[in-house]
């Protein structure tokens, strides 16, 4: 399958993520949309990895592996980010009993 399909699929997912972040009001959903963005990236990285591997395997048997490594790092970092992010949301919920992003307008004096 040509690489273009993967690029289009990932970019679609990525744009869905961006639109979600910018339009949704529920913090948890916004959070999910960020995860969609990250996963779109993961998908594309794996696809590129395979592509570079096939193209360069003759000269370099390990070509393309670094992208798959990168995916693991993204997953690890995303997990760390989620733990902190959820903690922040919980903290906010305790204080306000709401997880609405509109709440964030208070700081703009």
């Amino acid at each position: 399958m040509p690489i273009n399909y993967y690029i289009i699929l990932s970019l679609t997912l990525f744009v869905i993520g961006i639109v979600g972040v910018l339009t949704r009001r529920n913090t948890i959903i916004v959070f999910m949309c960020i995860e969609i963005m990250l996963n779109a990236v993961n998908l594309l990285l794996v696809a590129f990895s395979k592509m570079h591997h096939i193209n360069q395997v003759a000269t370099n048997p390990t070509a393309g592996t670094e992208a798959q490594l990168f995916v693991f790092f993204i997953m690890v970092v995303a997990a760390a980010e989620v733990s902190v992010g959820l903690a922040i949301i919980v903290m906010l919920f305790r204080n306000t009993h709401s997880i609405d992003v509109n709440f964030l307008n208070r700081l703009k004096h």
Binding site: S10, G17, F73, V84, I88, M91, N95, L107
Partner: protein, 457 residues
């Protein structure tokens, strides 16, 4: 490598300190000793003594630029700890953990300053950001702090997503994450490269709060506990800039002509918006938040020019800006409220503090004989050397004159307005440290080579 490992180790040590040491001054002194040690081993590494000979496999490159910036960052953090660490006590109960988080951030700073692979850049940015989300929200009962934290988190995660997409597209086009070996052609650059570069540019612009990606900055800086704003606006911001410059110098230097105009427009916008909005602020803290945007505009000039002068300039700028801002924040932390009026009559009460504050403000405004002037001078020089941006340079100096307006408002309040202000008590050690910082700014303003020679020898 020295500093990277020791800062990570010290992060862990500080976490245990929180369990075993109950006296706050002891905790504080351990942290100060830790940063001093970091500074020491980093300087040793600059002189060629490396304790940990790790093969970085082309992931990191500890060149003079990276090491010198690390020294600047550690030096600023040391000063920051000495001046403001006692004020962290007011924020919450987890005193030692704040230090631990800051050590982890320093770890990220080292990564960002010395990355060679985009993977390390990504990790560095995340290692800086995640502890910062926590520090921003560390005042748990304060709604404004909560809000700032959530906002920072969402914006940070969002821009990380964009950055990752940029890295991926770049990888798709070049087949490597190594910035030294991307070999981007000057002619017929592929669409993937351009798209990837733009995404990276925008996400880094988010991190350094360049207009139009700055909208989170004032709110977050304002909501964050002041003592952490000081750190965030100085060391972290300079680190992001160093990463920005390094990335574009190494990876996209060959297609400089393609992105120069975008950078010029963003620089111009940052200078305009940062300075003009800062004029209307009523709180010193918020003014400093906008001033950090406008100073970012000047640092962007270094990115735009992308030559040897701009590398020197960014180091000098980071130093001058960090020292002066940390100093002003340290004084601000002692005040009861953050309005301009609270500084009325300050010079009569605390002549020494007012005097050093004037030096900090003059340095930020870029008046000669302070490091701030030479920093701006290097940026203007770098831009003019790269040619055809005379209009931007003129805009920049006019904006520098606008910045005088809000910096001098503080001077006016301190010296020429009558008022009780708020009576503050400070220790002689605090005063001495501030005088030392001010002296550093003046010495660097007359002999910048004391710092910049480290880049070469």
């Amino acid at each position: 490598m020295n500093a990277l490992i020791i800062s990570a180790v010290f992060g862990v040590i500080m976490m245990f300190t929180g369990i075993f040491v109950k006296q706050k001054p002891v905790t504080r002194n351990i942290a100060i000793a830790g940063v001093a040690l970091l500074l020491l081993v980093n300087i040793l590494e600059m002189s060629g003594i490396d304790f940990f000979k790790v093969h970085t496999a082309g992931f990191m490159l500890f060149d003079r630029f990276a090491l010198l910036f690390n020294s600047v960052a550690f030096g600023s953090t040391l000063i920051y700890f000495i001046l403001s660490a006692p004020d962290m006590e007011k924020v919450g109960h987890y005193y030692a953990d704040y230090f631990a988080l800051i050590f982890f951030i320093l770890c990220g700073v080292v990564l960002v300053a010395s990355f060679q692979s985009l993977l390390i850049l990504f990790l560095g940015i995340e290692i800086i950001s995640i502890p910062l989300y926590i520090l921003t929200g560390s005042n748990k009962r304060n709604l404004i702090s909560n809000e700032a934290s959530l906002k920072y988190f969402l914006m940070g995660a969002f821009s990380t997503g964009i950055m990752l997409m940029g890295i991926t597209l770049l990888y798709g086009a070049t087949g490597t994450f190594d910035t030294q070996f991307m070999n981007i052609e000057t002619e017929g650059t592929s669409a993937l490269v351009i798209a990837g570069m733009l995404l990276l540019f925008f996400s880094m612009a988010f991190k350094v709060s360049a207009v139009p990606f700055h909208f989170w900055t004032p709110d977050v800086y304002d909501g964050c506990p002041t003592v952490f704003t000081s750190f965030m606006a100085t060391v972290v911001k300079s680190a992001a800039f160093v990463g920005f410059i390094r990335l574009f110098y190494d990876a996209f230097g060959s297609i400089h002509d393609d992105w120069k105009l975008v950078a010029a427009i963003i620089t111009a916008l940052t200078l305009l918006v940062g300075n003009i909005t800062a004029v209307f602020q009523q709180s010193v803290k918020r003014m400093l938040a906008y001033s950090s945007i406008s100073q970012a505009g000047f640092m962007l000039l270094g990115l735009l020019a992308l030559n040897a002068t701009s590398k020197e300039g960014i180091i000098l700028y980071a130093t001058a800006y960090s020292l002066a801002t940390i100093g002003i924040f340290a004084i601000l932390l002692k005040m009861n409220d953050h309005s301009f009026e609270s500084f009325n009559g300050f010079a009569r009460q605390q002549p020494l503090l007012a005097g050093v504050n004037v030096i900090f403000l003059l340095s930020l405004a870029g008046i000669p004989l302070t490091a701030g002037f030479l920093a701006k001078f290097y940026m203007l020089k770098a831009t003019l050397e790269s040619g055809d941006f005379l209009w931007l340079v003129i805009l920049a100096v006019i904006m520098a004159a606008v910045s005088v307006y809000y910096y001098f408002r503080l001077i006016q309040a301190m010296y020429f307005k009558e008022g009780d202000g708020n009576a503050i008590e400070v220790s002689p050690g605090f005063k001495l440290m501030l005088v030392i910082v001010a002296a550093c700014l003046i010495v660097l303003g007359v002999f910048p080579n004391l710092l910049l020679n480290w880049l070469y020898f």
